[in-house]
């Protein structure tokens, strides 16, 4: 400190210069003990080596523009299989002239985010939007009722992933809530059916269910009736996630004191009003973190549909790495996949954090 001693004390307490502070912070948090210091130094060394190397490979020496693998001469990553086939990754085999429909469907799905962040909006509008979204998306993608029909065999890539993810989430939570309520119902038949359903679904691997959806469902339908394979795997994802969500929500229901039910009853609330206005709002806010984990799980599980022949983004990635002109570029393609899922799942996670914070603020 070079300031005169008479002023130094009060100043250093309130607006100390940043440098000594940073040093103090580092000493306290990075080098408090010999063991800690070694750990900090190793981490620092690793970062100093890794970050430049990674950035160099990913960006500075990478090739973004070109026609074929022969153009990748920089020594870094070769992003050409993605940039050259980006249309395939996003739209799959969707007819070029109709791609605007996919764009509109994506925009509607993306529109959920600002809507969910909006504070001043009536909740009923959000619910109406949520309820309509799956049907509007399906109509846009599949066609009919004014739009030329597109066979769902042409659906592939991000289009499939986003459709399965968004529609799955919209349906899984309400179904999970109903199952949880059913499991606690005082009516034995409803209770038994819900318990049976939840236990059955939870005890079978999701892949098995997907195979059943793709191979067995058709056997039980009358001849001539055909359910789109995309809808069948979607149903599996919803039914599967809902069973897990039901258990999470049941846990939340058990955490609500009996007094809340009694107060609601005493004020003349009916069963459904008690649940919808008093109990579930409290349960859902308490179960945001585990429910979010399940949403993220659902989104990532959409990749399993590839196994039954639905080409989602992973399917397109695999067909890309198998194409002769892009052989040997698995690293880049799978890294791109990882980044795609990370961005979406991280955004979901941030939204949940935002919700939690907002609710904490309203409660404290």
């Amino acid at each position: 400190m070079t300031t005169p001693p008479s002023h130094a004390e009060p100043i250093s307490q309130t607006v100390a210069s940043p440098l000594p502070n940073a040093w103090q912070w580092a000493r306290r948090h990075l080098f408090p003990s010999p063991g800690h210091t070694v750990l900090s130094l190793i981490t620092l060394a690793f970062l100093l080596w890794f970050v430049p190397t990674a950035l160099d490979w990913l960006i500075f020496s990478a090739t973004f523009i070109g026609e074929s693998q022969a153009d990748c001469t920089g020594g870094g990553a070769c992003w050409l299989p993605i940039s050259q086939r980006i249309e395939m990754f996003v739209y799959g085999f969707y007819p070029d002239t109709q791609e605007w429909r996919v764009n509109v469907a994506f925009a509607l799905a993306a529109g959920l985010f600002p809507l969910l962040y909006a504070k001043r909006l009536d909740r009923r509008w959000i619910l109406a939007y949520l309820a309509a979204l799956p049907f509007v998306m399906w109509w846009l993608l599949k066609g009919g009722a004014g739009l030329p029909e597109v066979s769902s065999t042409k659906f592939a890539g991000i289009l499939v992933t986003v459709f399965l993810g968004v529609v799955g989430m919209v349906f899984a939570l309400p179904l999970g809530i109903l199952l949880a309520l059913g499991r606690r119902s005082s009516k034995p038949i409803i209770k038994m059916l819900c318990v049976l359903y939840i236990e059955l679904i939870r005890s079978v691997p999701v892949i098995t269910l997907l195979f059943m959806a793709s191979l067995m469902v058709q056997l039980f339908l009358p001849p001539g009736v055909f359910i789109d394979i995309l809808l069948r795997v979607l149903a599996v994802l919803i039914l599967f996630t809902a069973a897990y969500m039901a258990e999470t929500i049941r846990g939340g229901l058990q955490g609500i004191p009996k007094g809340q039910y009694e107060a609601a009853k005493a004020l003349g609330f009916s069963y459904w009003k008690t649940m919808g206005m008093i109990i579930l709002p409290q349960v859902l806010r308490n179960t945001i973190p585990p429910l979010l984990t399940q949403f993220i799980g659902l989104f990532k599980e959409t990749t399993l549909v590839m196994i039954v022949g639905v080409l989602d983004i992973v399917g397109i990635a695999m067909s890309t790495t198998a194409a002769p002109e892009w052989l040997g570029l698995e690293h880049e393609v799978y890294l791109f996949l990882a980044m795609f899922f990370f961005v979406i799942c991280f955004a979901l996670s941030r939204y949940a954090r935002h919700l939690e914070k907002q609710l904490e603020r309203s409660r404290s």
């Binding site: 007094g259 009853k265 005493a266 004020l267 003349g268 609330f269 206005m277 409290q282 409660r363």
Partner: protein, 260 residues
């Protein structure tokens, strides 16, 4: 409004309980209890814990289902008819030991939601009524807070206002001051005394004997699921006829539970 107890089942009898029996498993909680309450009557029910006093008033709005006997409230016999039960509950307010405010709603919303959801009162009118009643319990300035931000006494006063928002004809109090710190008890009792002076029909399970002396038309003493004694407060406190009542009064008076 008449403050005197009605001797028979007059037309303004609002609660009629006949030969009520209630079991929890093997435990016989209420044994052949009969009782009538007239409109405007203020009744205090006391007795040792486990004596069935809470169970009795919880049978009046059927938070506890009874196994035998009849409960008739506002001229309707309570049975398995859920719609009728919900209708009756809207006319019978209740306050609980642990307040049971809805923690996810503001104080104001706690008071308006039951009106809009169950009585179909328009939003503006519900707010007006809620604010007037919050004013009455001196909680108006806290209308936009959440229950978790308030003290027990404040929460209980809001719970009373919330129940009154439904414009009930009967109010049930289930040990409303038992969970409160001593310094908060009087603020809740003051509100209850005001309510009694306004002529509300009240059934209070409480150990606040000062409150009983001040407002009760009748004090009921219960023990082991039975009504042992009932009398106007002067007679009840000064000349109880049953030795069990005598013993109970001695116990609570000795330990200074009562307040003037």
């Amino acid at each position: 409004m008449s403050a005197l107890p009605q001797q028979d089942t007059a037309p303004d009898c609002v609660v009629r309980i006949e030969h009520l029996d209630k079991w929890y498993g093997d435990f016989h909680a209420l044994k052949d209890v009969s009782q009538t309450v007239a409109a405007g009557e203020r009744i205090v029910i006391c007795g040792p814990s486990g004596s069935g006093k809470s169970t009795l008033i919880r049978c009046i709005n059927q938070l506890e289902r009874h196994q035998r006997g009849t409960v008739e409230v506002l001229g309707e016999i309570l049975d398995d008819n859920v719609k009728r039960l919900e209708r009756i509950r809207r006319s019978v307010g209740m306050c609980f030991q642990h307040f049971n405010l809805f923690p996810h709603l503001t104080v104001l919303k706690n008071c308006t939601l039951p009106q809009t959801a169950n009585l179909g009162v328009p939003q503006e009118e519900a707010i007006e009524r809620a604010l007037a009643l919050l004013d009455k319990v001196q909680m108006r300035e806290h209308a936009n807070k959440y229950p978790g931000q308030l003290s027990g006494g404040q929460q209980q006063r809001i719970a009373i206002a919330r129940a009154l928002c439904m414009q009930p004809r009967i109010m049930l109090f289930d040990e409303p001051t038992s969970a409160l710190d001593p310094e908060m008890i009087s603020e809740v009792l003051d509100v209850m005394v005001d309510l009694a002076r306004d002529g509300m029909t009240m059934l209070c399970v409480t150990h606040e004997m000062g409150f009983a002396r001040k407002v009760a038309d009748r004090v009921i003493f219960m023990d082991h699921g039975e009504i042992v004694e009932q009398a106007p407060p002067e007679r009840f406190f000064h000349a109880p006829s049953s030795p069990r009542t005598q013993q109970f009064l001695n116990q609570i008076l000795d330990h200074g539970v009562t307040r003037a």
